[in-house]
């Protein structure tokens, strides 16, 4: 610790002030600790991602070579090519977008309507309904999963996209409860006077919702949209069970689900194409993983500013 001050005398008080800070200024020492902590934890956070990126570019030789630790000797793109081939990337990607996108749109529309209904109107049994809403969030999905599976197959919506669309259209999609609560909280903050004014001007109940409440709810909509699409995208278990088919395969698949079965599908693919493909190794697995999260990463980096800002404004916390 060498402190070089221009001033000749360094009093003990001054040094203390410099490191620990005074009442109105953060001290240098304290700031260093905060930054050090943040950077260290940030690195720990990023470590798996960095590891994944670095590994995904390594050719087989680098994997075996112990002297290569982080930076691959050549950027071996072929890993990605092979992984994409085995995952059937473009087709699966398109299906993933549909499987995550359609229920998400429904979630946004339906949850906003329901949230508005809860926030704006008083009716008997509202408290009980909100209680049930929270209860259904706490309830482990496993309890209803099995009968739902049977129930869907009775309704003939199993192994098709409808198995996601129908519940989402009725406000029972993936974690819809949270979204309803987000909208509920948000619409409660919309001043009642605004809606009453629109009523005096002759707007009906639905029109005042669409024209007055909804446009002011843009941040909430963005948050719900993003979270919903992320959760649908990442949901592999229910997707596999309801949409892709656990027993009999439908031709629906998502990137995350195909990642789950990556090893099997890769080996079969490799045996079909023959010599063209290298046998499965760590790097190819990592490239597959990378491919499955890449679309979300891109979306996140593009939308992150709006995302963080609207998170602040939605009051996601919900007292």
């Amino acid at each position: 610790m060498n402190i070089r001050c221009k001033k000749p005398q360094i009093s003990r008080d001054k040094v203390k002030k410099f490191f620990l800070g005074s009442k109105d200024k953060q001290g240098f020492g304290k700031m260093t600790i905060i930054y050090a902590l943040l950077i260290c934890i940030g690195f720990v956070y990023l470590y798996p991602l960095l590891y994944m990126i670095s590994r995904s570019f390594m050719p087989l030789d680098d994997l075996l070579d112990t002297s290569v630790d982080w930076i691959p000797s050549t950027f071996y793109i072929k890993n990605y090519v092979n992984a994409a081939k085995s995952m059937n990337f473009w087709k699966t990607f398109g299906q993933s977008v549909i499987i995550a996108g359609l229920p998400t749109l429904l979630n946004v529309v339906v949850c906003s309507i329901i949230g508005y209904g809860f926030a704006r109107y008083n009716f008997r049994g509202k408290k009980i309904m909100l209680g049930i809403l929270i209860f259904s969030f706490i309830l482990p999905a496993q309890v209803t999963m099995m009968p739902n599976y049977v129930w869907y197959s009775d309704l003939k919506i199993l192994n098709s996209l409808n198995a996601f669309i129908l519940p989402a259209a009725l406000g029972q999609g993936l974690k819809s409860q949270i979204f309803i609560l987000i909208f509920y909280n948000f619409f409660r903050q919309v001043p009642q006077a605004l809606i009453e004014a629109s009523k005096i001007d002759g707007a009906g109940h639905f029109k005042s919702f669409v024209k007055i409440a909804l446009p002011s709810a843009a941040p909430a909509i963005l948050v719900v949209f993003l979270f919903s699409i992320v959760w649908y995208w990442n949901e592999s278990y229910l997707t596999q069970l309801y949409v892709c088919g656990a027993v009999s395969k439908s031709d629906w698949s998502t990137l995350v689900v195909s990642l789950k079965n990556f090893a099997d599908s890769y080996t079969t693919q490799a045996s079909v194409t023959g010599s063209g493909m290298v046998s499965l190794n760590e790097s190819i697995k990592m490239s597959g993983t990378m491919l499955s999260i890449l679309p979300l990463l891109i979306m996140y980096f593009v939308l992150q500013r709006q995302f963080v800002e609207s998170l602040d404004r939605t009051g996601i916390t919900g007292e």
Binding site: Y35, L38, P48, L49, Y51, V257
Partner: protein, 331 residues
């Protein structure tokens, strides 16, 4: 919800109409609730008492009573051990996640540069942490902090703790990054709560000569205490619905297993649900905010007042009755 409590009156026509519109708005949810939650719930409850066989003609249900439940505890090898492991891991992981999220959100809330970049990093796991991705990463050994020697930790802990708990703690360290990755949403919740705290509170404390440390314990923590409960409950639910969870895999495998089937899996799911509820209740009891002393005193005072009023009324009534009687006798 309805803050203005009006005098009870027959609901007017207009108000009734409003009510109907309200029902109309939440109608989709009610239908969905009945169709996709309540109905399956009753079904699942019923299934747990049956042995269900899938035949080409359809499902054949045979009544077996409590046998499914008994089998789970008496004959199944995996379920009790998995369940115990799950409960232990969850109880250990929840405090770690909550405290960690709190620390991170406090750090993020301090006056620093590049706040945006750090936020970006800490919210990243929310976006990419899905089951298979986690599985792949854990498979590659990217889930541990590289230079952490867990064997040492295990040996040290094993010296004075029972083997199972020591193993669970070691497991926690083994999957440290995963655990940290799970705290994305929690950080979000805490950050939002901390930002809502009134700044003037801190200013007042500063004038009184408080340190940051004191401010944290006396202002920040008490204010966000309800949020701690919410976060803890969310964490428990998240961990139990997680695809990395061994129990879920077990339930699913039982579901498509010929010898066990839906009934058995349903019973398992119910057992699991009960355990989850118990853990949630435990967390809630531990963290629920106690009413503060003033509120308690106020309530006691109100009660006292009411009692006094009642005794007064009683005395008066007694007196009236007595007078009445006296009048009668004098007449």
């Amino acid at each position: 919800m309805s803050r203005e409590k009006t005098v009870k009156r027959k609901t007017g026509h207009l108000k009734k109409k409003e009510e109907h519109v309200g029902y109309l708005f939440v109608l989709p949810w009610i239908i969905g609730m009945l169709l996709f939650v309540i109905y399956p719930l009753t079904q699942s409850f019923q299934y747990a008492f049956y042995k269900i066989k899938m035949t080409p003609k359809g499902r054949v249900l045979t009544w077996v009573g409590m046998k499914n439940y008994l089998d789970i505890w008496q004959k199944d090898v995996n379920f009790p051990t998995e369940l115990a492991g799950y409960a232990l891991n969850t109880l250990l992981a929840v405090p770690v996640i909550v405290v960690f999220a709190l620390i991170i959100s406090l750090l993020l809330n301090s006056k620093i540069r590049m706040k945006g970049v750090f936020r970006l990093i800490f919210f990243l796991p929310v976006i990419i942490a899905s089951g298979p991705v986690m599985a792949q990463l854990a498979d590659q050994g990217a889930a541990t902090i590289p230079s952490m020697n867990t064997v040492m930790i295990y040996q040290v802990l094993n010296g004075f703790l029972p083997g199972m708990i020591a193993e669970a703690i070691t497991n926690l360290f083994d999957n440290m990054i995963m655990i940290l990755w799970y705290s994305g949403v929690q950080i979000l919740l805490f950050l939002a709560a901390i930002q809502k705290i009134d700044k003037s509170l801190y200013e007042a404390a500063k004038i009184d000569g408080s340190s940051t440390w004191e401010e944290f314990w006396k202002i920040t923590l008490p204010t966000i205490k309800p949020m701690v409960l919410l976060t803890a409950v969310y964490t428990v639910i998240f961990l139990s619905n997680n695809e990395q969870n061994g129990l879920i895999v077990l339930i699913q495998s039982a579901m498509f297993d010929v010898s066990r089937g839906y009934g058995y899996a349903s019973a398992m799911a119910w057992m699991y649900a009960i355990i989850v509820t118990v853990i949630v209740a435990l967390v809630a009891v531990l963290l629920i905010t106690k009413k503060d002393a003033y509120a308690k005193k106020e309530k006691a005072y109100r009660r006292e007042l009411k009692k006094e009023k009642r005794t007064l009324a009683k005395v008066r009534r007694k007196g009236e009755r007595y007078e009445h009687k006296m009048q009668k006798t004098s007449n």
